[in-house]
Symmetry: C2
Subunit: 290 residues, 2 copies
């Protein structure tokens, strides 16, 4: 199995992928394919260059990863798994703290360290990269450059840890999703088996009918009526006009459960569009191998 | 009156501020104070360096401006107005299209042009700046640099328009809010008068009680019961643990209206925290001078 992840070596996405691979017992059958950015993971998957992709969805400090949400909406993609990775950003460089003029990272990395950067490097130039490890790789070039990335990348790219804890909050976690092409779902069905004992989560996108005020309240009512626990609701611009949104809703349960099937059945006529992103085993730190 | 905006000269925030100033008929009494980034506008306001600040809140392509949401939560801040600006991003440079190696802009500018950049400049290095006009100013330094900014900044900073429409979608609008210190609300009351004929909007932040499933549904019910139109609901990490959110809710109506007052009164005991961000005249392109 080929798994598309953010590259180069050492990204948190790679860590997420390895966590999922280990849980599924797929260590011997998988090859990682490194992509330059999140959009490329979706493109590679869409073109059949990989069987599965792993992408970040949301972070506990900086929130939703916009590009992932947009690509989930655009593509013919299904979510087949999720995993959560502990983020521990360091500031890495070849040079010394006082030499740093340029700081590189993924936009999420920069966002997660906003206050720290403002405090310690108010005048540094910020450059965004496709991933944190790409930032690390690039910052090997000049002593005045530093990267926000994981401590593991320091070793990988021969950099010094200038500041070990640069994120704004000590607790920092990112939720990743494992995606596949919708037409490839059958092939992936086998992967579900070992998680039969775990509880499931389902993700959908809905576009509300603009002419029906209270539409969001009404569809949340369908979940409430059946005691279905919503774990997340995220709005994202529909990109048509300002003030027009689609909603990404995650909830507990499996689309194979009658109660979930019925709820979706009741919601469908109430919305202008409903996209099923998939049902997948809920990440549970207690029942995960990592 | 001193108004804090994103600087240097030529930002969309400045345009938003001038639009609001003109509507309020304050042209002769105001001085703009340019800040390096959004966080600095809040800091300047908090320290009394300006009376009012103008900051971007959400964009029709790239969505919420995370730092603004976070600062609205942190500070003792009230919203007293909103305005919407049409965004028309161009690619500006001293050099030619084929020379461009580095593209600079505010993270929102880069996000709004993600697909275009990927298509036309797949290998360009992306650098984030505090504002679009700062990007324009910096890109005067080297021919290999280009900025995503407004066409007006081309003239201002003596740059060529390399690509006139670089945003991913033709229709692109940003909503800005006008903020003041909560303890300064009285002074600002006078500004409300001229908008007596306009309809109002109110913004609140709620943090739901995690032990009450269906809490979001329940508070949306309070709005639905009274036929109050929600114009926006946005989740943002509480930054405590992953999966824990605060909700930013905008709705039609004024906190001085009995029905709104009653609704808030009913919501308060149902949530762990409610922050009133303020009631302000709703932006209406038909009744605006611009």
């Amino acid at each position: 199995m080929i798994i598309g992840v953010l590259g180069p070596r050492g990204t948190y996405t790679e860590k997420a992928a390895r966590q999922w691979i280990e849980k599924k017992g797929l260590e011997e059958d998988t090859v990682l394919e490194y992509c330059a950015d999140i959009q490329d993971v979706f493109t590679l998957l869409g073109e059949g260059g990989c069987d599965v992709g792993v992408v970040p969805l949301e972070n506990s400090i900086e929130g939703a990863v916009g590009v992932t949400l947009d690509m989930l909406m655009e593509g013919d993609i299904h979510i087949i798994g999720e995993t959560i990775v502990t983020i521990k950003h360091c500031l890495l460089s070849r040079g010394k703290k006082e030499d740093i003029r340029v700081i590189l990272s993924h936009p999420q990395g920069i966002g997660q360290c906003r206050h720290s950067l403002k405090e310690h490097f108010p005048d540094a130039e910020l450059r965004t990269t496709g991933s944190t490890s790409h930032a690390a790789k690039l910052s090997t070039e000049f002593e005045e450059m530093a990267a926000i990335a994981s401590p593991e990348t320091a070793e990988m790219y021969n950099l010094n840890i200038i500041m070990p804890d640069i994120q704004d909050r000590k607790h920092n976690h990112t939720r990743f999703v494992v995606i596949t092409r919708s037409d490839d779902m059958q092939t992936m069905e086998g992967l579900k088996e070992d998680a039969a004992d775990c509880s499931y989560k389902t993700s959908i996108i809905v576009y509300l009918d603009r002419d029906r005020p209270g539409a969001l309240y009404s569809i949340l009512g369908e979940f409430a009526k059946n005691d279905i626990n919503l774990t997340r609701i995220e709005s994202r611009p529909s990109k048509r006009v300002l003030g027009d949104y689609v909603f990404y809703i995650d909830f507990e349960g499996n689309i194979d459960d009658t109660i979930i099937k019925d709820t979706i059945y009741n919601i469908e006529p109430q919305v202008a569009m409903l996209k099923m992103l998939g049902s997948y085993p809920k990440f549970d730190s207690h029942c995960e191998s990592n």
